[in-house]
C-alpha cells in the first residue's frame, strides 16, 4: 500500500527531502515536546489540578495574563496607528522607522530586559521623571506591562500593515461618492476590513507575551504573588526540583 500516490511531477527528490523533513522535525520538535506531554500525563489528575491551581501559581497567571491583555490592548491601538502612518503618509525617515519596528524581534530579550529595567528604574532616563509623579514602573506589574508591550509591538504592526497596503482606493472613493465623510469612511469601511488582522496581531503578540521570559525577569521584580510571571515560576520550580534530585 502506498501512502502517497504517484505524482505527475518530474521534479526529483520528493522522497529524500520529505523523509528528512519529517525525521528532523520529529527528532528536534515532536519527540521532545511529547516528553512534556507524557511527563504531565504521569501526574495523577488530582495532583495536576493541585499543582496548576496552587495560590502562588494562580497569582502568577493573573500577573502574566493580566499584563499581557493590557499590553496587547495598547499594542492594538498604537500598532494600528503606526501601521497606518507608515503605509499612508510620507514623511522623512519613514523607511528607517519602518525597519526599526522589528527591533523587538531582533534585539535579544536579555538586552531588552536590562535596558528597560535601567531606563525605568528610579534614576533612569524615564524613571527619573516618573518617580516624582508617584509612578513606579521598574520592579512592579506596570514594568511587566511595559516590557510586554515592547516585545508585542511588531506582531500587530506587521500583521496589519500588509492589509492596509492591499485596501483599494476605489472602496474609499465609493464611500466618499455615496456621501460619507472621512471619519465615516474610516469607521465603517476601513476599520471592519482591518479588524481580522488586528485580532490576529493581538493573538500573536498575546501568545508571545504570555510565554516571554528574558525581557521580563529584569523589570518584573519577581515577587511571589505580586510580580512573579509564570515562566519564571517554571524555572524556579525546575531548579528546586533538579537540586533535590541532583547527585
Amino acid at each position: 500500500m502506498r501512502f502517497f500516490k504517484r505524482q505527475n511531477n518530474v521534479l526529483p527528490g520528493f522522497g529524500p527531502t520529505l523523509g528528512f523533513t519529517i525525521f528532523y522535525l520529529s527528532l528536534i520538535v515532536l519527540i521532545p515536546l511529547s516528553a512534556l506531554v507524557f511527563r504531565t500525563a504521569g501526574l495523577t489528575w488530582g495532583k495536576f489540578i493541585s499543582t496548576v491551581t496552587a495560590p502562588r501559581v494562580m497569582a502568577s497567571y493573573k500577573v502574566t495574563f493580566g499584563a499581557a491583555i493590557i499590553a496587547e490592548v495598547i499594542n492594538a491601538i498604537f500598532g494600528v496607528l503606526v501601521a497606518w502612518v507608515l503605509v499612508r503618509y510620507r514623511f522623512p525617515g519613514r523607511r528607517i522607522i519602518d525597519a526599526l519596528v522589528d527591533l523587538p524581534f531582533a534585539l535579544p530579550t536579555a538586552v531588552a530586559g536590562i535596558t528597560l529595567a535601567t531606563i525605568y528604574s528610579p534614576n533612569g532616563w524615564a524613571g527619573r521623571y516618573l518617580e516624582p509623579l508617584g509612578i513606579k514602573v521598574a520592579f512592579t506589574p506596570l514594568g511587566i506591562v511595559l516590557a510586554t508591550t515592547f516585545i508585542g509591538l511588531p506582531f500587530v504592526v506587521r500583521t496589519v500593515q500588509p492589509v492596509i497596503e492591499e485596501i483599494e482606493v476605489e472602496l474609499e472613493e465609493a464611500a466618499t461618492c455615496l456621501g460619507a465623510n472621512r471619519w465615516q469612511t474610516l469607521k465603517l469601511v476601513i476599520f471592519p476590513m482591518l479588524l481580522p488582522s488586528i485580532l490576529t496581531g493581538f493573538a500573536l503578540s498575546f501568545a508571545r507575551g504570555v510565554g516571554e521570559y528574558g525581557s521580563l525577569i529584569f523589570i518584573a521584580g519577581n515577587m511571589p504573588m505580586v510580580s512573579e510571571i509564570t515562566p519564571l515560576l517554571v524555572i524556579n520550580l525546575l531548579q528546586k526540583w533538579s537540586r533535590r534530585y541532583a547527585e
Binding site: 505524482q7 521534479l11 519527540i31 496607528l81 519596528v101 534585539l107 536590562i114 528574558g214
Partner: protein, 286 residues
C-alpha cells in the same frame, strides 16, 4: 516639511485625512516609537560607553566575556547550517510537491514559535536530565547533554527551527516549478537543477531566513538559560553573561556586552530590510 502636505500618489485630497490630522497621527506614532524603540536602543549604547572607551573595551576583552562570545559563535555555527539545510529540504518537499496533510506539516514546523522559550529548554531537561528518559543511561556513560554545551546547542536548534523554512516555503510556492521542469527536460540532473536554477531564485529568501535564524541563535535567552548551568567561562552564552554581569551590579560591563548583541540586532535589521526588498522584487519579476 512640504512632504507632509502632499497626499500620497494616486490619492486625491478627498481620499486622505486633513493635513492637521495627518500631522497629529504622524506625531503620535513618532512619539510612541521613540519612547518604546529608540529610547531603549539609545540607552544600551549610552550605558555601555558611560565610563569611556577603555572601560568598554576592557569589559569586552575580559576572559569570561571572550569565552561566552566563543560559545555563542560555536552555537550559531552549528545551529544555523543545520536549520538552513532543513529549511531548504523542507521547502523543496512542501513547495514543489503535492501531498496529503501538507498544512499539518507546515503548522508543525511553526510549532517552536508558539512554545514559550522556557518550555523549549524544559523539554530537553525532561529527556536528558537525570530524572529524564535517557538521563540515567547518559550518566552511566558519562555523557553530559543538559547543563552542558550540547544542551545549549539543542535548545537553540529548537527555538531557531522554523526561521529558514517558513521564509522559503511561501517564496518557492509563489515561484512555481516551471523553471525547474524546463531545466530537467533540457537534461540537467536533479542537483544541477537545484544549484543552477532554484538556488539563484531563492538566494535572498535564504539570506533573510539565515540572518533571522542567526540573530535568534545568538540572542536567545529563555531556552538557553534553562539548559545551561550558568558557569562562567564554560556554559555561558553572551546573553547569559549579560545577565550575570547585570545581577552583579556590574552595569557598565553588562551593557558593554549587551551592546555587542544590540549591534548584531541592528545589522540583522539592515540585512533583513534589504533582503525583504529583494524578495519582493523577485516576486514581482515573476
Amino acid at each position: 516639511m512640504s512632504a507632509l502636505n502632499k497626499p500620497i500618489s494616486n490619492r486625491d485630497r478627498s481620499q486622505t485625512e486633513p493635513a492637521f490630522v495627518r500631522r497629529l497621527l504622524i506625531a503620535i506614532a513618532l512619539v510612541f516609537l521613540t519612547l518604546f524603540l529608540a529610547l531603549p536602543l539609545g540607552a544600551v549604547f549610552s550605558q555601555a560607553f558611560e565610563k569611556g572607551l577603555t572601560v568598554y573595551l576592557d569589559a569586552i576583552r575580559e576572559p569570561d566575556t571572550l569565552s561566552s562570545i566563543k560559545l555563542t559563535l560555536i552555537t550559531a555555527a552549528v545551529c544555523v547550517p543545520l536549520n538552513l539545510f532543513f529549511g531548504v529540504t523542507a521547502a523543496w518537499a512542501i513547495a514543489k510537491f503535492c501531498f496529503p496533510r501538507k498544512n499539518l506539516l507546515i503548522t508543525l514546523i511553526d510549532l517552536p514559535f508558539s512554545v514559550s522559550p522556557v518550555i523549549s529548554g524544559l523539554i530537553y531537561v525532561l529527556i536528558f536530565g537525570l530524572q529524564g528518559w535517557i538521563g540515567p543511561w547518559l550518566q552511566e556513560h558519562d555523557i553530559r547533554i543538559v547543563f552542558a554545551v550540547p544542551g545549549i546547542i539543542l535548545a537553540t536548534i529548537f527555538v531557531t527551527f522554523p526561521f529558514v523554512a517558513r521564509e522559503l516555503i511561501p517564496l518557492m510556492e509563489a515561484q512555481g516549478k516551471e523553471e525547474e521542469e524546463a531545466a530537467l527536460v533540457l537534461g540537467a540532473t536533479g542537483l544541477q537543477t537545484f544549484f543552477i536554477v532554484t538556488l539563484p531564485n531563492i538566494k535572498w529568501g535564504i539570506i533573510y531566513g539565515v540572518i533571522l535564524c542567526n540573530g535568534r541563535a545568538m540572542g536567545d535567552f529563555g531556552a538557553v538559560s534553562v539548559v545551561s548551568r550558568h558557569i562562567r567561562g564554560m556554559t555561558n552564552t553572551v546573553p547569559l553573561h549579560v545577565e550575570i554581569l547585570y545581577n552583579e551590579y556590574n552595569y557598565t560591563a553588562a551593557f558593554a556586552v549587551a551592546s555587542l548583541l544590540a549591534f548584531l540586532a541592528l545589522i540583522t535589521l539592515a540585512v533583513k530590510s534589504v533582503a525583504e526588498w529583494k524578495v519582493r522584487q523577485e516576486l514581482e519579476n515573476q
